[in-house]
Amino acid sequence: MARFIIARLGHAIPLLIGVIVVIFCVLQMVPGDPVQAIIGQFPVPPAYRASIEERFHLNDPLYIRLFQYFVNLAQGDLGYSFRAQRPVLDLIVERAPRTLLLAASGYAVGIVVGIMIGVQSAVTNHRSVDRFWNALVLVGYAMPTFWIGQLLVIVFAMNLGWLPTQGMAPLIDRSTGFAWVLDRMRYLALPMTTYAIYEATRVARLIRTSVIGTLGQGYIVTARQKGLSRREIIQGHVIRNSILPVVTAMGYSFGTAMGGAVLIESVFSWPGVGSLLIESIRLRDNQTIVGVVLFVAVCVILMNLIVDILYSWLDPRIRLAR
């Protein structure tokens, strides 16, 4: 097991280094003044300009600059946001749990709904049921997430007036205890539903293909010949064997959720990492942009590593195969 973890780390660390090198290269390609490229379009006093030049070794050759870039990151220095007047790392740490809340709840609901639709669509004996779910999933799959969000706002917030349109909490908030939780859930409902619809369509497509593949396996024929009921075959053999590859795929993609929710966060002004990225792009706060991109990369790589290790622990064949 230890050897497996070391091997996976040996894969993950070069990947992270690669991402940092690519980001560094893009920063070198930004036209104009390199100091402005690093901090964004803010007025820079001469003393601060000198300190930036020194910290990033801007007057040195490229390889020294790259090395210094790594040294700064290794010290946990993601830079300083001029817009917020705070270190970038602080901004990200403050917002990450909010994105995690949105993504995790959306993921959980989306996976459950997606599995139910996908399995139903694959095992049903009625072609019309399969066609109905298939059509619905195809349309859902093609809808831009921000448009789903806008439609939900039009119906549930504007027309019916059931739920708030944006934000994470009311401006003046005096509720406590259970009322506080309920209040937060009202704000979470629409962004979470948007995320869940997006995930459910992906899961349903994957699981339908997976179940159809499982249905063609020899052991299903054997189970049928053994005289097991339809329900027993579906619950005991089909779903169990079809879910693992899908859950693995979802596990890998969860890492991208930290950055992938940009558009949903933007529709609902959900103050997460994605909104931070968009605000920084609009205000040309380059240090924050780079910080968020790096943070998302770390999340993805870390999540993949965790999924790899978990699965090798659950299923030793994976460990032995590598």
Partner: protein
Amino acid sequence: MTVGVETREVTAAPTWIRSLWTGFRALMRTGAGRTGVIIITALALVSWFAPWIAPNGPIELADKSLLPPSRLHLMGTDNVGHDLFSVVLYGGRASLAIGFYAAAIAFLLGGTIGALAGYLRGPVEAVLMRIAELFQTLPVIVVVLFVVAMLGSSFWLLIGAVAVAIWPLEARIVYGQFVVLKEREFVAAAQAAGLSTSHIILREILPNALPPVIAQVALDAGLATLIAAGLGFLGLSDPSIPSWGEILNRGQSYLDNAWWMSVFPGAAICITVLGLNLLADGLNEIFDPRSSSGTRLQS
């Protein structure tokens, strides 16, 4: 069905048009493929002929702002007073062009890298496929946002950014095809005949590797359309070119009193992506019939 590919192998080179036609007919026999072709052709024609179909120009003020859909303005008017139907028609040009060009560039870039990695193997394979993995680490939207934020958001830069974000998808498929096909007899025969590496890659392996790649290109064109619309929605696309995402961005401020500003351009994006996905499904169906075989569990 590999009808198209087999015909090409057996008969002389100029018959590629005939095999293309055979492939197209096979595609039109699948339900998904036929619907996809009809949707995409209709959208392309409508966008292309926008100047003749649209009642107004894309930046021409037509009437009062925020008028609901009526016989005069089929989709209503936007917050400025443009006829929304006209803007949506013209917006289709940019949206379809971005999807098409980005997928084409990603195909050329990813296809070349995937082909080289799959054919040459060894250290070239290790380096190229690690680079592909590197680009797949970040979500596509984050890669595009980063490039656009740092380098600007002109029309061609946006296409380049989307292509850079999606090429690894193409590279992986081409790579997988090349790894398998390289071991086949016809490649050994071509090598024994002393044909050059470029000839073997381009003339021998590539035509046989293409079918699943074409399906991926259609899917990627859909993805590129979604990403481009997302950028427009965030207000980061080229402001001088009308696009569906850009209308949705403005519509966000009028969700309470002008639902048509969101519903119609969003539906246009959805229909385009749906058409491309159906096209990809149809292509997958003819190239790999197993993918759609509905093995059913009888009770």
